[in-house]
């Protein structure tokens, strides 16, 4: 047998879990503000997350999927995307959504059982959260095709989990992205778990990045708790896509520190020990350590930043809690551009019966 083709998968880390620099930092870090802004968004995301969980525990929110421990992934994505790009998120990319102008109150509305949560005015081309795992990957192909068709300077970014890579939808999408060399970046948030199913049951592939080889596109791994590495590699991938040099898959290696959702109890299927081990790799601690050692960041500044973020979250929570529910009729009013006759009748009946029974 002759060997006819060879592939390699790379891995990038700049800052290790102790906050130590393991290779020369990329240029963008020369500007303290850009690092600080990443840090700040990660803190904001986490504070929001904690708040959301406590809202859920007190009956003020429905089932909620926490992004604890994975903040760097979303935040780095949001940081490199331009407003006109399109984000197609799964349900753990709050960091990216917040950067793109989605309000915390919107996200709360969504998990609070209100469709208006996905009607955000700022990121108006972005897709709503995709609950059916990986089903949004083909949408990204359509979005990127539209971008290419109209010759626009935009990129589609599709995020999904390690579990999501097992779905045919994901594969069909990466394969098609390769065929048309579309401006897409697929980000795999590999948090090691799909509810109770560990990474090794999802695939025998040594890395998830190598799924790219099946589509003939670029794939690589990044330390998903190193926001600098993520920021740099996402930036490269978006640049590549923007310049019509083809799609990429970036696998971010991170860990789901929380339960799958508030409806889950992870102690059923994984050890506390494993989770504690992983706490060491916390993406926020790492950048905090770096800021302190290399950028003179101090307690006072840190407290101030936390305080500011808490305020934002608090305001948004109030906004959420003060939002009155939609009228019953809203379930009819966005079904079609114009409500068909049959449904007008149903709508009238619903109104009538609602009044009757109130």
């Amino acid at each position: 047998m002759s060997q006819i083709i060879r592939f390699e998968i790379g891995y990038t880390q700049y800052v290790n879990h102790l906050g130590e620099i393991v290779q020369d930092l990329p240029k963008f870090t020369y500007d303290t503000n850009s690092l600080l802004s990443l840090y700040r968004m990660m803190v904001l995301t986490r504070l929001f997350d904690q708040k959301a969980i406590s809202l859920q525990r007190t009956g003020k929110l429905g089932t909620y999927a926490s992004s604890l421990g994975q903040e760097a992934v979303g935040v780095a994505i949001g940081d490199v995307m331009r407003p006109e790009d399109v984000l197609l998120p799964s349900y753990r990319e709050y960091g990216a959504q917040l950067q793109r102008g989605v309000k915390i109150s919107n996200i709360l509305l969504y998990w609070g059982g209100d469709e208006r949560g996905m009607c955000f005015s700022d990121a108006k081309h972005d897709f709503p959260i995709s609950v059916p795992v990986a089903s949004h990957a083909p949408h990204a192909v359509g979005v990127a095709y539209a971008i290419k068709y109209r010759n626009e300077d935009r990129v589609a970014v599709c995020v999904l989990g390690d579990g999501g890579t097992s779905k045919g939808d994901f594969y069909e999408a990466i394969n098609a992205a390769g065929v048309w060399q579309l401006p897409i970046v697929f980000v795999i948030n590999n948090n090691q778990w799909a509810i109770s199913v560990p990474r090794n049951i999802q695939s025998h592939a040594q890395t998830l990045a190598q799924k790219a080889i099946a589509a003939g596109i670029h794939g690589e791994q990044v330390d998903g708790n190193d926001v600098i590495a993520l920021r740099e590699r996402f930036s490269a991938a978006l640049h590549k896509a923007r310049n019509r040099n083809g799609p990429s898959i970036i696998e971010a290696l991170t860990y789901r520190l929380s339960d799958h959702t508030t409806a889950d109890d992870a102690t059923h299927y994984r050890s506390q020990h494993e989770v504690e081990e992983q706490l060491k790799y916390d993406p926020i601690n790492r950048i905090n350590a770096l800021l302190r050692t290399k950028y003179n960041w101090n307690d006072e500044q840190d407290n101030k930043l936390h305080h500011e973020c808490e305020k934002i979250v608090e305001n948004e929570v109030q906004q959420y809690l003060n939002t009155p529910p939609q009228p019953l009729e809203s379930m009819f009013d966005y079904l079609y551009a114009e409500l068909p006759r049959e449904l007008i009748k149903q709508r009238q009946k619903a109104t009538r019966e609602n009044k009757l029974n109130d």
């Binding site: 399109v86 469709e115 208006r116 996905m118 009607c119 955000f120 108006k124 081309h125 897709f127 709503p128 059916p132 089903s135 949004h136 990957a137 083909p138 949408h139 990204a140 192909v141 359509g142 979005v143 990127a144 095709y145 539209a146 971008i147 290419k148 068709y149 589609a156 045919g168 939808d169 069909e172 999408a173 394969n175 098609a176 065929v179 809203s330 379930m331 966005y334 079904l335 079609y336 551009a337 068909p340 006759r341 049959e342 449904l343």
Partner: protein, 326 residues
């Protein structure tokens, strides 16, 4: 002006709308160079280019999902599924996304896509190529289901489907693709998506059908006419949302109704029509509503296909049964 077939009318509508609106874009398997296995997209890639008439990899979930992405970005994709037997991989995308994109974003995004597929039996096709499962789609909220049964209606309804701001499943009865020809002016005039077509007026009984079976139904109506029975024939055409008023009005007049469809009987679209007639038109009914439908079996391979496909005789039997109630 030359007369054209239903499949040519589909082609003519696509060409018209692509010329008129550069947001219209076609995708599917073999739709490009080959012009579709039934030639529905023949010549379009040559005319409008490879980026507008896209041969996709062999992946139906992708085709539907990609169309949703294109549509969300404001294009008007017309996606082809080569045969309805391969449409089922798209249902997840249709139910979980296409049909609710507008609803779940409170109108921020929408899904103006068309999913075309040839369907039904009668052309001696291989296994999995002859089923009629429109009823599955008729159950899905937020979408439209349209079935043309003549070249004229194919042209007008397809234009309407492409222009419609919501997702439309457009099912083409392949037995009718080349069954008849009509003069179809290429004037860009769309037909309404919310009314049934009364193809023949009558006073004794209402025959309701769509797709290929409409033609058997029309033949039955002719036979009945010879026997002095005046049958009204309605082509439902816009299966969902359903224009029940036209049917109810007709049955109010005739007092009798036979529904004819090719797909399996149980929970077919015929069941919905019969249920509504029984609910809103019970007092006008002189006889039970009869359904003449496909059996609840797998469509047999083609050697027995004609034993599955219903024919004029089965329709006439039902009509006579209905007329027997006095």
């Amino acid at each position: 002006m030359t007369e054209i077939t239903l499949v040519d009318a589909v082609n003519q509508a696509l060409a018209y709308e692509m010329a008129a609106d550069e947001d219209v874009i076609i995708l599917g398997e073999d739709v490009g160079v080959n012009g579709g296995v039934f030639r529905a997209t023949e010549g379009l890639q040559k005319k409008f280019g490879k980026t507008r008439v896209i041969d996709t990899p062999l992946a139906e979930t992708l085709i539907a999902g990609m169309a949703i992405g294109l549509a969300a970005e404001g294009l008007k994709p017309v996606a082809e599924i080569q045969f309805m037997g391969f449409i089922y991989s798209t249902i997840d995308q249709i139910i979980n996304h296409a049909g609710r994109m507008r609803n779940r974003t409170r109108g921020r995004l929408s899904c103006p896509m068309v999913l075309r597929a040839p369907f039904g039996g009668g052309i001696h096709a291989p296994e999995h190529h002859s089923e009629s499962t429109e009823s599955i789609f008729a159950h899905i909220p937020g979408i439209r289901v349209v079935i043309p049964s003549s070249p004229l209606r194919a042209y007008g309804l397809l234009l309407a489907a492409i222009r419609d701001p919501d997702p439309v499943i457009f099912l083409e009865p392949k037995r009718v693709y080349r069954l008849m020809k009509q003069n179809v002016p290429d004037n860009g005039a769309a037909l309404p998506l919310d009314v049934c077509f009364t193809l023949r007026e009558g006073s004794d009984i209402t025959l309701v059908s769509w797709g290929a079976m409409l033609h058997e139904t029309l033949l039955a109506a002719e036979k009945l006419d010879e026997e002095g029975v005046s049958a009204e024939v309605i082509d439902v055409a816009t299966i969902k949302p359903l224009d029940i008023e036209t049917i109810l009005e007709s049955v109010e007049k005739t007092g009798r109704c036979v529904i004819v469809h090719e797909g399996p009987r149980t929970v077919g679209v015929g069941a919905e029509i019969a249920a509504q007639l029984a609910e809103y038109g019970l007092l006008n009914l002189l006889a039970p509503v009869q359904r003449v439908t496909g059996y609840d079996t797998i469509m047999p391979l083609f050697r027995l296909e004609n034993k599955y496909m219903l024919d004029v005789d089965r329709i006439l039997t039902a009509v006579k049964n209905s007329l027997g109630y006095t």
